[in-house]
């Protein structure tokens, strides 16, 4: 197991957000985390990344308790793709990807040829090698999301955590990012991503987790988790889950 949580309690000092969470993720698997705003997705992710200490239960990364790992050791195992944000300074795309090497470079050192090669390889694997010299501030939102994924790949991790990777993208880029997620999992990475679109779990996830008020309302295969009853219970709206061309889609039932 790459990522393992048992009876995990998480939250901020003095404020519990979630409790009793169990989940398991092996290499090559994708976990899709769903749930309403305020349901605890972001807090769970910050806990998985070691930015917040687990409050109770167990959380393991590569078999070792996450709490026993230094932040830079976590960064060598777990790549983080934040939500797309407009950057303040015009770093080039290559410079942004190189930042993924931080945990593999000495505190006082600068990236060497190997690091540049790793960053360029990450950009090339996502098909954006041609953007390397362009200012990060001037590429499109979809391209920025791919650059952030490249930065996480430059960390050479065994798992990726993506925070709503399709949230601010147009439809074409959403599909592109989802297909990259499938491809990365096929290459052996364990992938966790959050989204507001239940359909995305059907498209590319092995597991789905429906979080409501910090607790796992449901955890299992997307087919088990994403049902009309569960979506009604968590989001409070009527939805039909229909089969189509070998996959499933959620359709609002007005």
């Amino acid at each position: 197991m790459i990522l393992e949580a048992k009876k995990l309690g998480f939250g901020y000092p003095g404020r519990r957000v979630g409790a009793g969470l169990d989940l398991e993720l092996a290499a090559g698997e994708v976990l899709c985390v769903l749930g309403p705003n305020g349901g605890g997705k972001t807090t769970l992710f910050r806990t998985l990344l070691g930015l917040l200490p687990a409050q109770e239960g167990e959380l393991r990364l590569g078999g070792e308790p996450l709490g026993s790992l230094e932040q830079d050791e976590i960064a060598r195992r777990l790549g983080y793709v934040p939500q797309d944000h407009a950057p303040e300074f015009a770093f080039t795309v290559r410079e942004v990807a190189l930042m993924g090497r931080a945990a593999r470079i000495g505190l006082f050192a600068a990236p060497g040829a190997r690091d540049v090669a790793a960053a360029d390889a990450a950009l090339a694997s996502l098909g954006i090698a041609a953007l390397a010299g362009r200012p990060y501030t001037e590429v499109s939102g979809g391209e920025r999301q791919l650059v952030l994924i490249a930065r996480a790949l430059a960390q050479e991790p065994v798992a990726l955590v993506l925070d709503e990777p399709t949230a601010s993208l147009d439809f074409g880029n959403q599909v592109r990012v989802l297909s990259e997620i499938r491809r990365l999992a096929d290459s052996g990475l364990a992938v966790v991503f959050s989204t507001h679109h239940p359909d995305e779990a059907f498209h590319c996830a092995r597991h789905a987790l429906l979080l409501a008020r910090g607790a796992a309302y449901a955890f299992g295969t997307p087919e088990e988790v994403i049902t009309a009853e569960n979506l009604k219970a968590v989001y409070g709206v009527e939805v039909k889950v229909a089969a189509m061309n070998g996959t499933r889609v959620c359709v609002p039932d007005f």
């Binding site: 070691g50 932040q71 976590i74 960064a75 944000h85 300074f89 930042m99 945990a103 600068a110 960390q155």
Partner: protein
């Protein structure tokens, strides 16, 4: 080394030679090597302009990256206000030049130290924002101290030196002052040079930098300490010279981009050149000596407004 950096280094060399040669007293070429005016009077002043300009620009470049805001200057955390309060208090009580410099340096360091302490106690806020807010508030309190001392000062003996200190100037810099300030500036520069690449990651949102394995809190304290040391040492010998630390890093970023290991050397070269040019104008352009703070502001204000109008993002 980028072409801009190389060109700036050459331009700075030429400017330094020119600054040594121009002045009220003409120095014939045959006497350049034994001229007392050149080596005893102009050289320390030229060296001070280079040192102070480079220090302010380096500190400004570090802060702008760290606070993710290109409109931040090195005195955002109150170092100048603290130095001013220390200097005017020292003038009020003693007027000894060394006492004034030491009080200015100590005042600057103490103001930022206090802001850092308050910010680290203010948990539950964005740490960078808490730091800026406490720095600004402490700075404004110290501004009131300066105003109070100015009001109480003896108009004949104390007010003129207070006014001159607050206007800033390099006219009174002696070799001894340089010997005090230069090691402090260098001591502040060392961490910035060592962390030259890691500085880039401070420009990311805090969670992102931490998830990439960067010890953000410790790094931020190291940068604040380094920048404060440099700025306080510079301000202690020059008084308050505005704009250099705000505008020069921005100009450097336009030329070589935000990558800190390229930005730092160019910002320092441009800062040294800018202040040297301004100071040389100050002592040669008019029959009386102009305070450099006036010329930097005359050049700086329009440039800053252009910057403000052309920048899309500010605090978020």
């Amino acid at each position: 080394m980028s072409r801009s950096t190389l060109a700036s280094a050459l331009a700075l060399l030429a400017l330094t030679a020119a600054a040594l040669l121009v002045g009220e007293m003409r120095i014939p070429p045959s006497e350049i090597f034994e001229s007392e005016v050149l080596w005893q009077i102009r050289a320390p002043r030229v060296a001070a302009a280079l040192l102070v300009g480079a220090a302010l620009a380096a500190a400004g470049a570090a802060y702008q990256g760290m606070f993710r805001n290109p409109l931040v200057s090195p005195d955002i955390l109150g170092v100048s206000a603290g130095a001013a309060a220390g200097a005017v208090l020292a003038i009020f009580f003693s007027q000894h030049p060394l006492a004034i410099q030491l009080a200015a340096f100590a005042g600057g360091v103490a103001a930022v130290g206090l802001a850092t302490l308050v910010a680290s106690a203010a948990r539950g806020h964005d740490p960078a924002l808490a730091l800026v807010l406490s720095g600004v508030v402490i700075g404004s309190l110290l501004g009131a101290v300066v105003a109070l001392v100015t009001a109480l000062a003896d108009p004949a003996n104390q007010l003129p030196p207070i006014t001159f200190w607050l206007l800033g100037g390099l006219g009174a810099v002696a070799p001894r002052d340089l010997a005090l300030a230069a090691p402090l500036v260098l001591a502040g520069l060392v961490p910035l040079v060592l962390l030259r690449w890691r500085m880039n990651l401070l420009a990311l949102p805090e969670d992102e930098a931490r998830a990439l394995g960067v010890p953000v809190g410790a790094l931020r304290i190291a940068v604040v300490a380094a920048a404060t040391l440099m700025t306080a040492a510079a301000v202690a010998i020059s008084g308050i010279v505005g704009w250099v630390g705000l505008l020069v890093p921005h100009a450097a970023r336009l030329l070589v981009g935000p990558e800190f290991s390229r930005l730092l050397p160019l910002a320092m070269l441009l800062g040294a050149a800018f202040l040297l040019a301004v100071d040389t104008l100050c002592r040669t352009a008019a029959p009386i000596e102009l305070p450099p703070g006036v010329l930097t502001a005359i050049v700086g204000t329009p440039a800053f407004l252009v910057l403000l109008l052309r920048t899309r993002r500010t605090w978020n």
